[in-house]
């Protein structure tokens, strides 16, 4: 009591005012987080930028929007585009001169297709079209006939049929029709991140319709990514990105139609001509978005029994595959990064895989 009495009588008031002022200052400082939504690439693109300079962030987003719209215009698989013109030339046996960036994009797609044993196969545009997925809106209705599917399978279009010559690109197989779904989005995300960096942005996420690449951090912590549950609302797992990483998921719940109570989704197995039917989702973590995009598709098609060999060939180390029974296979390196948000249910098992 004696010591308290010795304190200056105005000290409690001064302390109170100082602490309150500090609290107020903390509350009123907005985070330098800029969130933008763009309707482009045939999807919704969310861009998050952590940067003190608002004008720089806004200008960077405008440039990214312009570039993504340009990619959409050039590489659209069914609306008139550079790609539809290229496809006409390929089927007519013509040689087409392409800009360097387009050639590089197709070479990369061809390389990934080869390493995936053509389970990622952007040459099956005719098959995708036959299934009705060359449309913004596939109506519920009957699937294509088995005879039509088999007829296309027999033509065996592969990316290795493409010839990259000094005078342009052509195909030794007229059945090759390019559809860069499962790759172009990753390529676009990579380009968007490169543009943000060129504008001096070091901390950002570009999320194109659920697939994303994150660079840097959210202030003093890492970016936190939630991975959506493939069968119910909410999040099944989460991870924090480190430095520069892409997170891509291929799932059977994204685009589908229903006919006579059976669901047909958009990830077609190039070997059978039918939707790959053993897997609910595959999530891939990789530093390059285009590679992650192609790998997620290829591993989904490979399915629960065979994805490991394909992942090795494609150089993919971080994978989580959920099969039709909600059994989870996850690489050890991915498991070290992922936090499951709920305890797995009884029927679920989580198997660790060493690649």
């Amino acid at each position: 009591m004696t010591s308290v009495n010795r304190l200056p009588h105005y000290l409690p008031a001064t302390l109170f005012i100082s602490l309150t002022a500090l609290l107020l200052a903390a509350c009123s400082q907005p985070e330098p987080l800029h969130r933008t939504q763009l309707l482009t690439l045939g999807t919704l693109v969310n861009i998050s930028i952590w940067d003190e300079n608002e004008e720089r962030a806004e200008n960077a987003v405008h440039r990214v929007e312009h570039s993504l719209t340009e990619i959409h215009r050039r590489w659209h698989a069914w609306q008139e585009s550079d790609l539809t013109q290229l496809n006409r030339d390929l089927s007519n046996g013509k040689t087409t001169v392409l800009p360097d960036d387009a050639t590089a994009l197709l070479k990369k797609a061809a390389d990934l297709a080869l390493r995936s044993e053509h389970l990622f196969n952007p040459a099956i545009g005719q098959l995708i079209n036959l299934w009705g997925f060359h449309s913004d809106e596939r109506l519920d209705g009957p699937p294509p006939s088995s005879a039509d599917i088999q007829a296309l399978i027999k033509t065996k279009p592969l990316m290795t049929d493409l010839n990259f010559n000094v005078d342009g690109i052509n195909s030794s197989n007229p059945a090759v029709q390019l559809d860069l779904g499962g790759f172009a989005k990753g390529y676009a995300v990579d380009l968007a991140i490169a543009e943000l960096r060129a504008d001096g942005i070091e901390n950002a996420i570009v999320n194109a319709g659920g697939d994303l690449r994150a660079i840097g951090r959210h202030g003093d912590r890492a970016w936190r990514i939630g991975i959506r549950h493939p069968q119910q609302a909410g999040i099944i797992a989460s991870l924090e990105t480190v430095g520069d990483e892409s997170v891509f998921t291929s799932g059977n719940y994204e685009r589908f139609f229903t006919y006579e109570d059976k669901r047909y989704h958009h990830i077609i197995d190039p070997r059978s001509g039918y939707p790959a039917d053993q897997t609910l989702s595959v999530t891939v973590l990789h530093d390059n978005a285009a590679t992650a995009d192609a790998a997620a598709t290829a591993l989904f098609v490979a399915g629960p029994q065979h994805w490991q060999a394909i992942a090795r060939q494609m150089g993919i180390k971080h994978v989580m595959l959920i099969d039709n029974d909600m059994k989870i296979q996850i690489t050890r390196t991915m498991a070290e990064r992922v936090h499951f948000e709920k305890e797995p249910e009884k029927k679920q098992t989580v198997t660790l895989i060493d690649l």
């Binding site: 009588h9 409690p12 509350c27 809106e137 936190r224 990514i225 998921t249």
Partner: protein, 120 residues
């Protein structure tokens, strides 16, 4: 004994209350919400704590959006593919869904954003 400094401190605290209320409670209340966008521009922000069904006019027609149990979803839309409806209930901050043909999208935000973005 109440000193002049004590009176000053109490008066100052009372004056701060409205500001503290807006900063602490106001932000939290606005946090559990969803933005409904038309053509990428915010058209409406709705609280997720109040169950309701909303009709949003889009390019093709009306999209029906339901809020229930702190979640939001597309119930129907004049598009043919129904990808927006297939997206189901959205409840985590950062989740989003879009009806591209109707140019309407929905994005959830929470006062406590557990995730910066959602992968699917």
């Amino acid at each position: 004994m109440i000193t002049r400094a004590d009176i000053f401190a109490i008066a100052f605290a009372i004056l701060l209350l409205p500001s503290l209320y807006i900063n602490l409670w106001g932000e939290a209340a606005a946090g559990d919400s969803a933005a409904i966008l038309i053509g990428g521009e915010e058209y409406l922000r709705v609280s997720l704590t109040e169950d309701q069904t909303i009709t949003i006019p889009g390019k093709l027609g009306d999209s029906i959006i339901e809020i229930h149990n702190n979640s939001i979803r597309f119930v129907s839309s004049p598009c043919r593919g129904k990808q927006c409806v297939h997206s189901g209930w959205l409840k985590e901050g950062g989740e989003f869904a879009a009806c591209l043909p109707n140019r309407i999208s929905v994005a959830v935000s929470r006062a406590d954003m557990r995730y910066d973005t959602i992968n699917f």
